[in-house]
């Protein structure tokens, strides 16, 4: 099932994705979105072609190396005649009453095993360790659930995989890619339930010391303190 997404990564982000200069957690979110979104897939292959041309046209002052012998070593290696066999991976997440099929990259990531943790308010979280700079997780919001109003410590990227949710800025469904910076403040709620993949780019502030108390998924006080600051 491919549904047309309404919210996409910015062109700037796709360029960084193509260049390989994003944090890996974000790369994974974009990769998964691209698998679900024809528009961005097309856009990315154009950006890739352009990046290749730029790469070849750059006149760098690097000395021209002599790699003699290397090419000869290489051609003595065997070639690959067949694509590698597909590994057996978890490609679905089983929810209460139905299963959700995952984009390949997430299926591979999830195959290390998911441990679900209840965070209260009908929110469940399964953390994954994909790199040292981001916190990556699946979030499942039960039907009728609502997270406390929260502001982000860093940026938060969310990819909807199943169901839908709303916040003050919109309604998001499967394949939608939502990027929030720390200035944004929102309060997601889901009528029908929702499975998302989400990437937070400053995991430390979420797990350390006082910041833990502010973690929106754990504490409701934050709503008052944020409101108090007039945000």
């Amino acid at each position: 099932m491919i549904s047309e997404a309404n919210y996409h990564p910015s062109t700037e982000m796709l360029k960084k994705f193509t260049a390989g200069s994003l944090l890996s957690g974000l790369n994974v979110a974009i990769s998964a979105h691209i698998e679900l979104c024809e528009t961005c897939r097309h856009k990315t292959s154009k950006i890739e072609a352009k990046a290749a041309i730029d790469w070849l046209q750059t006149n760098d002052d690097q000395k021209q190396n002599d790699f003699s012998g290397l090419a000869l070593d290489i051609v003595n290696q065997p070639q690959i005649e067949k694509p590698r066999e597909k590994e057996a991976i978890l490609d679905q997440i089983h929810m209460l009453d139905h299963s959700v099929s995952l984009p390949k990259v997430l299926a591979k990531a999830a195959s290390q095993g998911l441990v679900w943790k209840q965070l209260g308010g009908g929110i469940n979280q399964a953390l994954m360790h994909l790199d040292d700079e981001t916190q990556c997780e699946f979030i499942y919001m039960k039907p009728g659930s609502q997270t406390p109003m929260h502001k982000h410590q860093g940026s938060e990227t969310t990819l909807v995989l199943d169901g839908s949710f709303n916040d003050e800025l919109g309604h998001y469904q499967r394949a939608d890619f939502i990027y929030r910076t720390e200035k944004d403040m929102h309060q997601p709620r889901s009528e029908e339930g929702c499975l998302c993949f989400s990437v937070l780019d400053s995991p430390l502030t979420f797990t350390k010391g006082l910041a833990r108390l502010l973690n929106p998924f754990f504490k409701y006080q934050f709503r008052r303190s944020a409101a108090g600051r007039g945000i």
Binding site: S31, F67, A71
Partner: protein, 218 residues
């Protein structure tokens, strides 16, 4: 297919009108410029040509090195990247699909991916996902061909012929090689001067269309 590939393809497709009968399909690839990166890679792919690889190596090795210096700022690592990336070019040449993008883009993505993996290894980061998982190999053929070849087709030959003639010339040529002239995939790729990956992908597309038209799609 991106625009670039479409354009290149259009140039190659200049074949005389009226020779679309099955059995007289013009060989659309034969006018590939022999000095182009594409032609060299086809030779690497189809006849394991060391000379052709040598030329590709000369064209790209220092560009790969420059990319490594820019990202990793270390001469030894940049040299290692040249080895890793160019080895991948050699090893994966038979999987390259020219319908999905040009050789430059393909080698660019290989360089980026090997560089990404090297950096991650250096930072001792989790190895759950490799670059090839994150950037799916759009230029290569991952799916097995058997899928497209499965299923019995029991339709009048004349109907099939008509449908084959409606396929794009490049796909007709492949169907002709495999199903009419009974050549192996390797022989057909050699003859048409296209990478094996491209041949398989065209055959899959063609068979998919035929089965769809014939209503035998499972």
């Amino acid at each position: 297919m991106d625009n670039l590939a479409e354009k290149q393809f259009a140039v190659r497709k200049a074949s005389p009108p009226g020779c679309t009968e099955v059995g007289m399909v013009p060989s659309v690839e034969n006018n590939l410029d022999p000095t182009s990166d594409e032609a060299l890679l086809v030779k690497v792919s189809n006849s394991k040509s060391k000379e052709a690889f040598d030329q590709l190596f000369d064209r790209f090795a220092n560009k790969v090195f420059a990319h490594g210096m820019k990202i990793m700022r270390n001469e030894q690592m940049a040299k290692d990247l040249v080895q890793e990336a160019m080895l991948t070019v050699w090893q994966k040449a038979p999987l390259y699909n020219m319908d999905k993008g040009n050789v430059q883009s393909w080698i660019f993505t290989i360089t980026r991916n090997r560089c990404f993996d090297m950096l991650r290894k250096q930072k001792r980061q989790s190895a759950v996902l490799s670059a090839d998982d994150i950037w799916p190999a759009g230029f290569e053929d991952a799916e097995a061909l058997s899928e497209a070849e499965r299923g019995s087709v029991e339709v009048q030959i004349s109907q099939i012929e008509k449908l084959v003639r409606q396929l794009p010339a490049a796909q007709q040529a492949v169907v002709e090689q495999i199903h009419i002239l009974n050549r192996t995939h390797e022989e057909a790729a050699q003859f048409l001067e296209i990478p094996l990956g491209t041949l398989k992908s065209r055959l899959r597309l063609a068979m998919g269309k035929l089965r769809q038209s014939l209503g035998t799609e499972s």
